[in-house]
Amino acid sequence: MTLTNTDLLLEATGISKSYGPVVALKGASLAVRPGEVHALVGANGAGKSTLVKILTGAVHPDSGRIVVRGRERTVHSPAEARRGGLVSVYQEPALIPDLDIRSNLRLTETPLQPFRHWLGELGLGELDLSSVARRVPLASLRIIDLARALAIEPDVLMLDEMTAALPADLTERVLEVLHRQRGGNRSVIFISHRLIEIAAVCDRATVLREGETVGVVGVTGGSEERIVELMLGEIVEALPARMAEPKERASDATPRLTARALSDGTKLQNASFDLYPGEVLGVVALEGQGQDELFDMLAGSVRPGGGELLVDGKPVFFHHPADAIRAGLVYVAADRAEALLMQRSVRENIALPFTTRLRNWGLIDLRGEQRRVDSAVATLQIDARAGVEVRRLSGGNQQKVTIARWVAGGVRTMLCFDPTRGIDIRTKLQIYVLLRDLAEAGAAVLLYTSELKEVQLVCDRAVVIFGGRVVAEIDAADADEPSLLRAAYNLRSDAPTPESLAGGMIAPAASTGQPDVAKADGPDVGA
C-alpha cells in the first residue's frame, strides 16, 4: 500500500467479532480515503453490517484498531461516534414514529438549515416539518433520515442497504447526491447488493467474505465480474441465462389456481390470471400497483372485495390463512420479521404450520416432526448452528427457514413475494434452483419479484400488473428487462424506456407506512 496512515480518512484493521459459535468478523480491515465513495460488498452474513455497527459504536469488537484521521479511536456508543464524525443510515429509518419531524431533528441536534438544503437536493423540499413521522410514507422517511445524516456533515457517512427498499426515482436522487460528495474532504461508505449502483457511484470497493477482507477493487467498467468473483470465492458460477427449458403445456390442463376479476377497493381491480401446475409464473409490477393486496388475498390474510378464486377448478373462499394453507396455497414473505418466530428455534419455526390445527388435540409426534424438519434443513442447506433462536441466523438462512417450513409439508402452490430481497447471490441461486425443482416436481409457483433479471432466469412466463389490473402476459423468452419495464409502466412496446430506469430495477413494493399489524387479526374475529 502506497498510502501512509495519515493519508487515510478512516482505517480499521484486524477487526474481529464473534457471537457465541458464530464468527461474524475475523480480522477484517477497511481503509477509506478522503473524498471517495467506498463500497463495502459481500454475501449475506459476510460481516458488512457488523463492521458498520462496530464503526458506529453500536457493537463492540473483540479486537482490532480503528483510526480516524490518523488518530486511534475507541467508539463506545453511537452518540460518541456521531460526535467523532461517523454516522450511519440504515434501511429502516431511525425516526421516532410518534414525534413530528422537527422534534426528531431536535432529538439528534440536527441543524435545520443544512437539513432543509439536503432535503431539497434529495427532492423532498416541500416536506412539512410539523408532520408526524408515523404519517409520512416510508420512502420519504428514508430520505429524511439521509438528509438528517448529511446535515451534520459527518467525516464518514455509512449507508447500510439504504437503497434496498427505495423506489427507483428516489434511489437515483440518492446516487446523484452521493456522486457529488466525491472529491471533497469527506467520504461515504456504501453498502448495497446492487452492483449497478456501486458501479454508478463508487470509487473503490472492499469485498468481505465470511468475516474477512478478501480484496479491494478499484471500481471501473467491468469490475463487477471481479467483485462477484471475490464475493463468491471458489463457487464462482456465472448466473445461467435460463434455468428452465420452455415446455409445452397440455392444452386441456386444469390451472392449479385461477384468479377471476379479483378486486379490493381501488388498489386491485379485475386482476385475472391462471397459474398451472409445474410452472413458475412471474409477477412484475412497480411499487404499489396492487401486488401486495393480491398476494394477501391469495394467502388468505385479506378477504377479496370482489371476484372469484378457483383452486384446481373449484371455487374457494379464504376466511383465514389456515384456509389457504389447507387449499395448498402457502406464502413466503419478503420481510422475514413477518414470517418467523424470532426467539424460537429453527425446528419450531419449521414445524409451526403443520402443527397449528387446534382441532387435533393429540400430542405432536415429535420424532416424525424432527425427521421432516431435518430433511427440510438438509434440502435447503440451512446453516442451523445458531438454530436455538432464529434471530441469530443470517438473513439468507432466515429466509431459507421460511421456505423450509412449507417444503417440509410438501408444496402444491407457493406464493413468493420478493423472496430474494436483500439476500446474497449464493442464497439467491439456491432459492432459484429450489423454485425450479419445485416446479419440476409438479408444484405451481407464483413469484413476485422486484429484480427483473429473475423473470427470465426462473419463470416460465410473467404477468405484469399496473394500476391493479393485469396489463400484460409475457413469455419468459421475450421477458428481457426493457420489455418488462415498458409493460410495468404500461407503455407500448415501441415507446422508449424511461432513462432513470435503465438499470432495470423496480423498487420492491414495500408497504408505504408502518407495518399494518391490525390487518393481521382482521379476519380472525368470530373464527
Binding site: 457471537y19 418466530l341 397449528t356 387435533n360 388435540w361 405432536i364 448452528r385 436455538v388
Partner: protein
Amino acid sequence: MNGIAVASRQRTLGAAVASSRRNAWTLGLIGFLVLLLVFTKVMQPRYGVAGVQNLAISVLPLALAAVAQAVVVIAGGIDLSIGSMMALTSVVAATMMMGQSEEFGVAVVLGVLLLGLVLGAVNGGLVVVSRVPDIVVTLAMSFVWAGCALLVRAAPGGGAAQWLKALVLGSLGNEWIPKAAVALVVMVGLIWIPVVRSRLGLSIYAIGSNRLAAFRSGVPVGRTKFFAYALTGLYAALGGLALTASTGIGTPVPGPYTLMSVAAVVLGGVSLAGGRGGVFGPIVAVIVLQMIRTDMTFLSIDSNLAYVAQGVILIGVVMFGSLFELRRARA
C-alpha cells in the same frame, strides 16, 4: 460428502446446548434456591420436616397462580384477575361443600373447575372480541370477579370435604414428600405438559412470539388466545380449590396472588413480551420468594421491612440474571 451425518451430529450438539441454554435461567434459580435452603438450615438447625410441610402448603396456591399467569403471559397477554378468580372459586367451593356429603364434594370440585374455565373464557372472549388491551380487560374483570365473590359470601366461612383437605395436607409415603408438592406436580403434569406438546401449545408460544407470523402460518390467533385465557382460568380455579383445601374455608377477599404471580413469572424467566419461558421457572420462583419470607421471619426482621426486602431482591435477581444473559449473548 457426508453432510447429513455432520448435520445430525451438529444437531445433537446443538440440542444439548439449546436445552441447557433455554433452561439456564431456571437452573440458576434452582441454584439460588439451594443456597437459600443451606442458609436456612445453618441459621435454624431445627428447620426440617415441619418446615418443608409448611413451605409446600403455603407455596401451593401461589404456585398455581404463577402457572396460571405464565400460560397467558407466554401467549402474549397478562391476567390481572387471577387473584379475584381464585377468591371467587374458593368461596363457591367452600359455600357449596359446607355440610354436604363427601360424594357431593366431588361434584362441587368438578363444577368449580368448570367455573374456572368459564371465568377464563369470559376474560379471553372479551379480550379477543373487544380488542381492548389485555391489561385493561383483566383489570376490570378483577373487580367483577371480586364483587361476585363477595356476593356469594360476605365474610370468610364455609367448609371443605375431608378428602379434599386430605389431598393437600400431610405427606405421602416418606415424611419428606408433602402431599401438596405431589398435588402440584400432578396438576402441572396432567394439564400443562400435554398442552405444551400438542398443537395448542406451539400455537400459544407462536402467538406470543410473533402474532403476524403466526397468523400467516395459519394459526387461529384469536382462538388460541381464548384457549390460553381459559387455561389460566382453570389453573386459577385449581388455586382457589387449593386455598379452600388448605384452610378449610373460603375467603371472599382476593389475596396478594395476582401481583405475586406476575412477580413469579418475571423471576421465573418468562418474557413479559410473550413467547419465551415455561411454567417450571415460575414455580421455582414462587418457592424462592416464599423461602425469602421464611428466612426473614427467622432473622426476626420486621414483617413490613420483609416486604421491602422482597421487592429489592426481586429487582436484584432479575437484574443479575439479565446481565448474565447479556454477557453470554455477547460472548
